[in-house]
Symmetry: C2
Amino acid sequence: MKTIESTKNERVKAWKKLHTKKGREQTGSFLIEGDHLVDEALAASVVIETIITTRKEYVATFSGSIYYVTQAVMAELSMTETPPGIIAVCQKRIMKQPTSLDGVYVLLDGVQDPGNVGTIIRTALALHASGVILGKGTVDLYNDKVIRSTQGALFHLPIYTGDLHQWVEMFKEEAVPVIGTALTNASPINRGQTYPAFALLVGNEGEGVQPSLLAQTTENVYIPINHDSESLNVGIATGILLFSLQG
Amino acid sequence: MKTIESTKNERVKAWKKLHTKKGREQTGSFLIEGDHLVDEALAASVVIETIITTRKEYVATFSGSIYYVTQAVMAELSMTETPPGIIAVCQKRIMKQPTSLDGVYVLLDGVQDPGNVGTIIRTALALHASGVILGKGTVDLYNDKVIRSTQGALFHLPIYTGDLHQWVEMFKEEAVPVIGTALTNASPINRGQTYPAFALLVGNEGEGVQPSLLAQTTENVYIPINHDSESLNVGIATGILLFSLQG
């Protein structure tokens, strides 16, 4: 096991670059923190390049290297207030477009809060979705808060990116209904209506789904809410609709 | 308008004590930050004792005092990274027990994450609940992150505290079904089954609802999830069940 004791070490500086989207795009790598996520990544088919730990006794079976670091180095690398005992450098997956879209998908248009995106991915996995598609303006999947909020679900569910206008067209070409969410020009969700396959389109926390996408959908729905209430959280709305639309 | 320029001012020290639960219990007051929450509080029947602002031109119609403070004082008082232009000191509401429990209620047993509790309150208001009851071990309603996550819903919905064992008995005495959530010894939620009135009992993020409460309920349910998934977030589960159980 190699040891790093200085926060000014060049490797530490290189790992810290993965805190930014730019750094992650340049290397194709990202960081995960804590035993739970590292165990999930080891158990899934994630390629782990490096494990960094403060525990001298740490052992793991994988193809990369293990670095033993001091608490100070760990604190430098961690994005959390309480630094974990372990961090791993993982390779981003390259997601090929699915051969069939005949399933349940969630499309995110400009969802900006990392906690919301992570929770939606966790919810999509739990509620039997086939994949999640992150459109323009949606926060980066490999943002540390997104990863933490997924609780590891990102390792179990295909997650795509791309222009949602094109994705919506592809769903429609395969006769999979695309269900948008909107507060105006939409129908209240019909509790009895379920679909074997569908794409659910949810939008930005303040602005909702952009009008040009809503114009492309098969139908647009809303969840009727109390007049004293301004809105539902986008993660909550996604959970309710995913559950309600599945038979 | 009175002016405070020093972060060491005695009033500033007294307001800062409201950052802790102990401080809030000693005074019966709590802080809210930002225009949206202050506007919601002014519009609702919340008693505002003091408004603290960095805007010399600020005007509001209410019975308390307005203090003009410097940016440094505001930064000292704020719990957020980007201090707002306004903070208000509000009086806690005294909630009397409702005369009838014939409605939709959400009972929280040891829900510890402030974001979850705030989001559940926001969701309960949106989905037509009559009230939320915070049991032992649930984070304080007046925690700054809880308040922020409610987005003002706490001013529009009755929120009670107390021993949930007693509350469950009271619901049952009024023949209102109490529906617990559990992963074992529970039935999958029946999508078609709805209730005109019910109490939904959800629990701690890791431990769930305590067994002694689950033993008291009318029935216990779970949401069937993917075997690759560990759990749903408690806020998401609450949203799905509140929606699904209402006719």
